[in-house]
Structure formats: structure tokens, C-alpha cells
Amino acid sequence: MRASRMRATRFRAVIAAGAVATLMIGLAGCADSDRDNGGGEGSSSGGTFIFAGAGDPKNFDPIFNDDGESFRPIRQMYDTLVTHKPGTAELVGGLAESWENDATGKVWTFKLRQNVKFHDGTPLDAAAVCANFDRWYTMKGEAAQSQMIYYQDVFGGFEGSPDAVYDNCKAQDASTAVVTMKKYKGAFPGAFALTAFSIVSPEAVKKYDGNTVTQNGDSFAYSAFANEHPTGTGAFTYGGWNKATGEITLTKNPDYWGDKAKVDKMIIKIIKDENTRKQELRAGTVQAIDFPAPADRKALAGEGYKVLDRPAFNILYLGINQKNPKLRDLRVRQAIAYALNRAQLVQTKGPGGAAVADQFLPDTVLGYAPDVQKYEYNVDKAKQLLSEAGATGLTLNFYYPTEVTRPYMPNPQEIFTVLANDLQAAGIKINGVPRPWNGGFKDDVQQFGKQDLHILGWTGDYNDPGNFVGTFFGRAKPEFGDDAMTEMFSAIGKADATVDEAGKKAAFEQVNRDLATKWLPAVPIWHAPPALATAKNVEGLVPSPLTAETFNSVSLTK
């Protein structure tokens, strides 16, 4: 009897053991819950600053990148010749103390800073700068060239291409580099500040085979330079990328030529889900997050976190495709503009600090005209214009993207709903067409022009009107449909080619006035400041309108 009871007890114990073991896992965890994560050290300098970014970088060779997530670590490790005054889009000296171009606008002379060294100890001099320009221009192979998206866009093409803008670069002396272009390009000097054109160590490129990009299957493989040995002049040096944990480590560069980093180390932690980024901030495991959801901003601010608005350097617009003959009538396009209650949209769906846009560039950019025609909300006027144009009962296909948020468009579906309701109220029937961003939207809208209306936008790359209106309306595009808008193309082309700054300003102001009154290829909707949020103890993080923050100014207090 006793033996059987013992067996029964043992059996129960076995069954219970599983349950206990499972609970143990939980308890083991609890014990460690107040673990320090190596964050703030309680002093005003030093320590580790952990920043939660929203996506993986591609690699760390600036020239082969074009996205914000790659540029974030790149900006900490490299410098550009010209840069932006922190918190603004104003150009100031970077590796070049000063720069000037000649009367033709084709020759740019850069006076370089003295005693600047790359992380590998080699000097930053005019020869190194020229080696960079030459490297880009002479890059071989379609695989590599196809990944130099900014270069192709700004410099027109590579060695041998008739559209190439670059001619040559000469080192006049150790600290003077003279870059000669084949033709004037309005994008400069602003484009010299593009992160893609950061100056890299020519020695490191050579040593780690930086120019070799090979195609493998459906993609490309990059060099050791791009993946393991990024070498620039920046305030931080590369400390490694742990892909299993999604952490990029950057270490303070004690020999930095500019303001040295205040923290010893910074970690960029990749957290794609915005809700999780917020929770990590609240848990204290990261000290700053990128792009908090607009809906969370108030709550975070209420809890004492710092919500930092980047000055808006973007635009959301409602595109109108004139392939549809009905939309070729200016009155119909104006009716659409009058039908939209943009002020209300900004109030209800805009992230904090958003403002109604009345032209396609922010007011900090040259050529912004304060006196453009503004389309105040007027549904009667819209109906009247539609009737005058014989377009009553108009039905339009309205494309909007899904599976995506953009800094200028945090909630495409909601924006679409509000705009569509406004248009319906004016008597335009709307057929909504949702398409995944990379699964049809960009193709249908930008390549095939299937839509009548669509929402899309842009964050500026550098401070130049051509980067905004030129990008949208400077040439015939399926997005807006009518190849016959030659007057618009040539006016923008002419403004872009004006070397004299005052002349350029006047020309672009006129372009902006005409865009509103004569051409109206789209309706500007809003400028929306994308935000950052940080813990209370983070000081000195200056939000950049170009989302181009550098973190050397950041310190952690108690």
C-alpha cells in the first residue's frame, strides 16, 4: 500500500515538474528585471546613447545609398564638403571651410580644413577630395552604377555618358580642391551637402576593395569597405554591426576635427514597429526614438518625454493626372483644389505642427513666393467650376498607398478618406484604389500613370527649389500625365539654369505663382514635421529639417 502511494506521489511530482519548470523560466526572468542596460551613466558626458531607428541600413559606403536608415549611421562616421547649420537647411562649411564658384557657375573651389584625418590616420587633403569625385565619375560596372542613385540624379551620368555633369577635379594645393563641371547645375552647392557625397578615405577604399560591387542572383554583394571598414572623418568611428540583435555600434572619435562627441559610445538599435519603439523608450531601454506615431506624441509629451519636431522640409500633395481629358481643363483642377478642406485635414489628421501648404516647397527654400494664389475651402465655388467645365457627375480613380508610412504621410488611408469625402461633397464621385507601396502603387502611379488622382509627397534632399518643383514638374512624367505642359517644363528648366542667385530666386517665385494659377498639376496639401522623441536625460539633440541629425552634440544627464 505504502509503495503504491509512493509511486502515485512520484507520478504526480513528474506531472507537476513540467508546470514548475515552466514557471521557473518566468521567475528567473523577474529576478533580472531591473538589470542595467549600460545606458546613461549619470554624468553630463560619457556613457552610451541608444537611439531606436526604424529600419536596417543597407551598407556604410555613402555613395551606394539613398535611404535615411543607411544615412543615419553614415552621417556619424563621415563628413561632407558642405553641410547644414544644425537645426536648419542653411549651408555652412563642412570639410570645406569655404567654397565659391566662378561666373560661369561651372568651377567650384573648395578651401579645405587643415589637420583633418580619416579614421585610418590618412590625411584629408585636396588629393583625397579629388579621389572621391574621380571615384564616383569613373565607377565601373552596371551593378555599382545602378546603386549610385543620387550620383546619377545630380551628376547626370558616368564617364563616357553625354549627360555627365562632372568634368575634373584638381588639387591646386594640399588644401584647395577645384572641381570643374561640364555645365552649370542649379543643384549645387546644396547637393554637395548630400550624405551620399560624403568624403571617404581613398586609402581604405583601395585597401578594402570599395569599388567592387558584384551581382549575385537577384541582388548585389558589396565590399568589405562598405560592410566592415567604413572609414571617414566623422565624430564617431565604426564599432560593428550585430545583425542578430540589430545593433550598430559607433565609438567616439577622440581625434575629431569638430565638436567631439560627448558620449563615449552610441548604439543605433533597429526597431521597426513604432509601437515597440515607444515601449522601449518607456521601459528606459533606449533613450531616443525616431518617428513616434502622431497619435502617441501627446501622451509621450505628457509623460515627460521630449517630443522634438523637425522643421518641416517636406510636402504632401494630391496629384492630378491629365491623361484623363476631363482633368486637362484647368477649371476642373481648380474645382478639386477648392473642394478640399485642407485646414480641417491638418487639424484632424495632421501630426502636431503640420501646416497647410500652398506651394510645393517649404518657406525656408529659395524661391518660395508668399503671394501665390491660395485655394481656400469653397465647395460652392468648386461645384460652380465643375458645372462651367461641363464636368458634373465626374468619376475619378483615386490611388493611395497601403503598407507604408512616410514622414510626410503618416497615415495614407486616413488622408485618402478625408480628401475623398471632401471631393464627393463637391459632386465628384471617387473610386478609391488602395495599392501596396512597393506592390503596385509606385508602379501604377509613377510608371504607368493609371490613376486620376493620387496622394504622394517628398522630403527635400538639400536646400534648392529645383529639388522640389524640379523633381515633380521639371519634365514629362506619367504621374501627372500631360507631356504637352512644355511651358511649365521650360520655365522650371530656365529657373534651374539661372546662375545669379537673385535671378534664380525671382524665376522660381514666378514658377510657384504659375504652378498655382496656370498649371495646377497637383494640389499642395501640407508640410508635416516628422518628430523624434527622447528621454528626459537626453540633452543637445538638435532635430534637423533634413532628418540629418548628427549625434556628437548629444549628452546624457542624470
Partner: protein
């Protein structure tokens, strides 16, 4: 037995070839594509053309297919479009993360599920049984996504009992040996890292375990009840065999067969559940990899390899389930 294994291996090969072809053509029939994904918003038409040529997308589809097949046969799945790394590297990094999570979930599901199911059956109709039925109903009905966020909100915010996401604390030094963080910490005697990884594992594993746990409890309970009603149990009791012996030798052993089947089937469900769980907890495993590869970047090379891998895992797990039948119930061996 050998014949069973061989037959399954042939099945695996045929499945993989069929899937490969299907996946290749399906991916290419979708709108958008890697060219779009790689180009972003700033590309000029010239760049688009360059890239299309560089990737060989200007060639006829059967040439692309031939090239793809050749690569697969030689074990080259290409490089990830998103990160530029060899696909094999990307997958072999994410694989241990998911397996670690799934294993922890299985341990929880089995460790709690079989005892609870058994106890519920033994106390049929009583409070414990009724409570178990209600709890399992909730467990099966609750969406993983919701449960994940709920657990996180309760236990990580405010209470700070667990970390909200990730596999290990940011900045923690851990040596990567096998890719299983808990194990790596033990192997390299970095016990701190091991405990930290375990601490990070609790919530995701609990979330992922919920559905299989509920199912295992219910199946065990039903199965045990069935066996308890069998004549041979009554006979055994009548013969005077002591109750614990009956339970161990006869009840549980015979009741386990359907449970093992369910565990096998749940492996597939675990992988599917991992996609959501990983998203909620920023767990860098295969689930995350799948959503990343479909979502923004149309990462064809990674997707193709992942689908093949998933199929292979599924077939192998089912083979193991079949083999374990033979171990539990000798009659199966005759087949």
C-alpha cells in the same frame, strides 16, 4: 522503416522542386518588384534601366528561371536585396532565433499542456476541469497579436517585469556561437548574457505557446477520457493493478498518440504564429525576415529560400512525428 524514410525523402525532393517553380513564377507575377524596392523614390529612368539590366530582368523569364535553378542546385541562393548579404547568412542568422523561440514555446505548451490536460480529465466535471476548459477556450480564441501587445502593456510598461522587445539587452556583450542566445551564454560561461536572453524569451514564448498549449490541454483531456473509458483499463482495474501503474503504463501512454500528432501539426502553426509574435516583440527571426522580405523590399532571393526551408522543415517534422508513432505504438511499425 528505412523504406518509409526513403519514400519521405523522395516526397521532399518532389515537393521542393514543385514549390521552387511555383514560388519563382508567383513572385514575378506580383506588381512592383526588387527594382522598385531598390530604387526608392529618387531614381531617374536611366538608373531604373541600368538596374534592370544589371539584375538581368531584361532577359526572358525562362532565362531568369534557368539561372535561378542553376544557382539553387549549386546551393547559391544569391544575396539579399535588402541587405546585400548572402541569403544563406541572413537565414542562418534568423533560423536559431525562431527555433529558440519555438522550442521555448513547445516546452511551455507540452510542459503545462499534458499535465493540465491529464489532471482535467482525472477531475472530470469538477472545478479544475471546468476552469481548464474556459481558460483553453480563451487561449484558442485570442489573437496572438492582441495577446502579445496585452502582455507587453501589462508586464513591461509600468511594472517593468520584462523587457518589451528584442532577444537580449541592448549593448550586452554576448558571444555568438550557435545563434541560440541562451545556450551561447552557457557555452561561453557568460551566464549574465544567458540569463538576460532567457528573461527576454519569457513573454514571446508565452505568447507563442498560448494556442498550442490550449490545444494540447484539450486533446490530452479528451484522449485521456477516451482511454479511461476503454475496456482494458476496466480490466486492468479489475485485475487489481494498482491505479498509478495503470495510469502511467496504460492511460497516459495510449492517450499520448493523438497528442503527439497534434504537437507535430502545431509545429507548422508555431512557425506561422512566430511571424506575428516576432513582429510584436521585435524578435529578429524567420518571421521578421518573412514580413520584411515581402513587405517593402520584395526580397525575392530571401523569400525563395525561406519558402523552400519552411517546406523542408514541415516535411521533416512530419517524418519525425510518424517515426515517433512507431516508438510509442509498436503496431504502427508494421506499416
Amino acid at each position: 522503416m528505412v523504406r518509409v524514410v526513403l519514400r519521405r525523402l523522395v516526397q521532399l525532393a518532389v515537393t521542393l522542386i514543385a514549390l521552387t517553380t511555383l514560388v519563382f513564377f508567383w513572385l514575378r507575377s506580383l506588381p512592383g518588384g526588387p527594382v522598385d524596392a531598390l530604387l526608392g523614390e529618387r531614381a531617374t529612368p536611366q538608373t531604373r534601366e541600368l538596374l534592370t539590366r544589371a539584375l538581368g530582368y531584361d532577359q526572358p523569364i525562362w532565362v531568369q528561371y534557368g539561372r535561378f535553378l542553376k544557382n539553387v542546385v549549386t546551393g547559391n541562393f544569391g544575396n539579399s536585396i535588402r541587405t546585400g548579404e548572402p541569403v544563406i547568412d541572413v537565414i542562418s542568422r534568423s533560423f536559431p532565433a525562431t527555433i529558440e523561440l519555438a522550442l521555448a514555446a513547445i516546452v511551455i505548451a507540452i510542459g503545462l499542456g499534458i499535465p493540465l490536460g491529464y489532471l482535467a480529465a482525472r477531475h472530470r466535471g469538477r472545478l479544475l476541469d471546468n476552469a481548464t476548459i474556459i481558460v483553453t477556450l480563451v487561449g484558442i480564441s485570442i489573437p496572438i497579436f492582441f495577446l502579445g501587445y496585452l502582455l507587453k502593456d501589462w508586464l513591461t510598461q509600468g511594472l517593468h517585469l520584462f523587457p518589451p522587445s528584442g532577444r537580449i539587452s541592448t549593448g550586452m556583450d554576448n558571444t555568438d556561437v550557435t545563434g541560440f542566445f541562451v545556450l551561447d551564454g552557457l557555452l561561453t560561461r557568460e551566464l549574465d548574457a544567458s540569463a538576460d536572453a532567457l528573461w527576454h524569451l519569457v513573454l514571446p514564448a508565452l505568447t507563442l505557446a498560448t494556442i498550442p498549449l490550449a490545444i494540447i490541454i484539450r486533446i490530452t483531456r479528451a484522449s485521456v477520457l477516451d482511454v479511461l473509458d476503454e475496456d482494458y483499463i476496466r480490466t486492468a482495474d479489475a485485475k487489481g493493478l494498482r491505479s498509478p501503474t495503470v495510469r502511467k503504463r496504460h492511460v497516459l501512454r495510449n492517450a499520448l498518440l493523438p497528442v503527439v500528432t497534434i504537437i507535430g501539426l502545431q509545429t507548422g502553426a508555431l512557425l506561422a504564429g512566430a511571424v506575428l509574435t516576432e513582429k510584436v516583440y521585435n524578435w529578429g527571426g524567420l518571421g521578421t525576415l518573412i514580413t520584411d522580405s515581402i513587405g517593402g523590399s520584395r526580397d525575392y532571393p530571401v523569400l525563395q529560400a525561406l519558402i523552400l526551408l519552411a517546406a523542408a522543415v514541415f516535411v521533416v517534422v512530419n517524418l519525425l512525428v510518424d517515426l515517433s508513432y512507431a516508438i510509442i505504438d509498436p503496431r504502427v511499425r508494421v506499416r
